[in-house]
């Protein structure tokens, strides 16, 4: 049973437009969420995180939104750039405990020039 789901395996966006990547989770105990970006044959790079006490966190072109009632989070990239083309993973954890992180299957973003 997958606790963190990224239902869109791929997404194509025109350069300069907004990219919206979605993530759903099932465990209401998750209280910390992270987004990572991964290029082929490299390790994931941390992008942005959000605690469950917030509903929005912004860092430059990246904004993460959290809707706890819907158990849904999204990553917005504005404006999208060709260098953003990569696989994006969301991850969730229960911080008062084992500090384990559960990852989604990833969404491959392609930004078209």
């Amino acid at each position: 049973d997958q606790q963190v789901k990224q239902n869109s395996p791929s997404l194509s966006v025109q350069e300069g437009r907004i990219s919206i990547l979605n993530c759903d989770y099932t465990n209401s105990m998750f209280d910390y969420f992270l987004w990572y970006k991964k290029y082929p044959a490299e390790g994931p790079t941390f992008l942005i995180s959000i605690s469950s006490i917030k509903d929005k966190n912004e860092d430059g072109r990246f904004t993460v939104f959290l809707n706890k009632s819907a158990k849904h989070l999204s990553l917005h990239i504005v404006p999208s750039q060709p260098g953003d083309s990569a696989v994006y993973f969301c991850a969730a954890s229960i911080t008062a405990g084992t500090y384990k992180y559960i990852f989604g299957t990833g969404t491959r973003l392609k930004v078209l020039a």
């Binding site: 997958q2 963190v4 395996p9 910390y32 992270l34 990572y36 044959a41 490299e42 390790g43 994931p44 790079t45 941390f46 995180s49 993973f89 991850a91 954890s93 911080t95 084992t98 500090y99 384990k100 992180y101 990852f103 989604g104 299957t105 990833g106």
Partner: protein, 114 residues
């Protein structure tokens, strides 16, 4: 910028060989992790450690073993490699009990067992 290193980056090896994948971090993080990832799939936790002399098995069963003799070093060993072990192995670390709960990853080792 996270300082976590993995060697080798790529490894092609024959069935039955013993291999050790190295992972080191210079951030003084207490927690370290090993994940296995196949293309198009999620990262599966196979081992983690809370600190020196502490190791636990992760959510995905693995024939590999780990050790944590020093804070900065968390090697993973396969006693007898098989083609089913072909995958990408990712090491990560994080702090414990601090404000940040971010997990930082190394560059990964891509393993091919023939």
């Amino acid at each position: 910028e996270a300082d976590i290193y993995q060697t080798p980056r790529y490894l092609v090896i024959g069935t039955g060989k013993k291999i050790t994948l190295e992972c080191s971090q210079t951030m003084g993080h207490d927690k370290m992790y090993w994940y296995q990832q196949d293309p198009g799939m999620e990262l599966h936790l196979i081992h983690y450690s809370y600190g020196v002399n502490s190791t636990e098995k992760g959510d995905l069963s693995s024939e590999s073993t780990v050790s944590r003799i020093r804070t900065e070093h968390f090697p993973l060993t396969l006693e007898s490699a098989r083609p089913s072990h072909t995958s990408q192995y990712l090491c990560a670390s994080s702090e414990v009990g601090s404000g940040t709960k971010t997990q930082y990853f190394g560059p990964g080792t891509r393993l091919l067992v023939l």
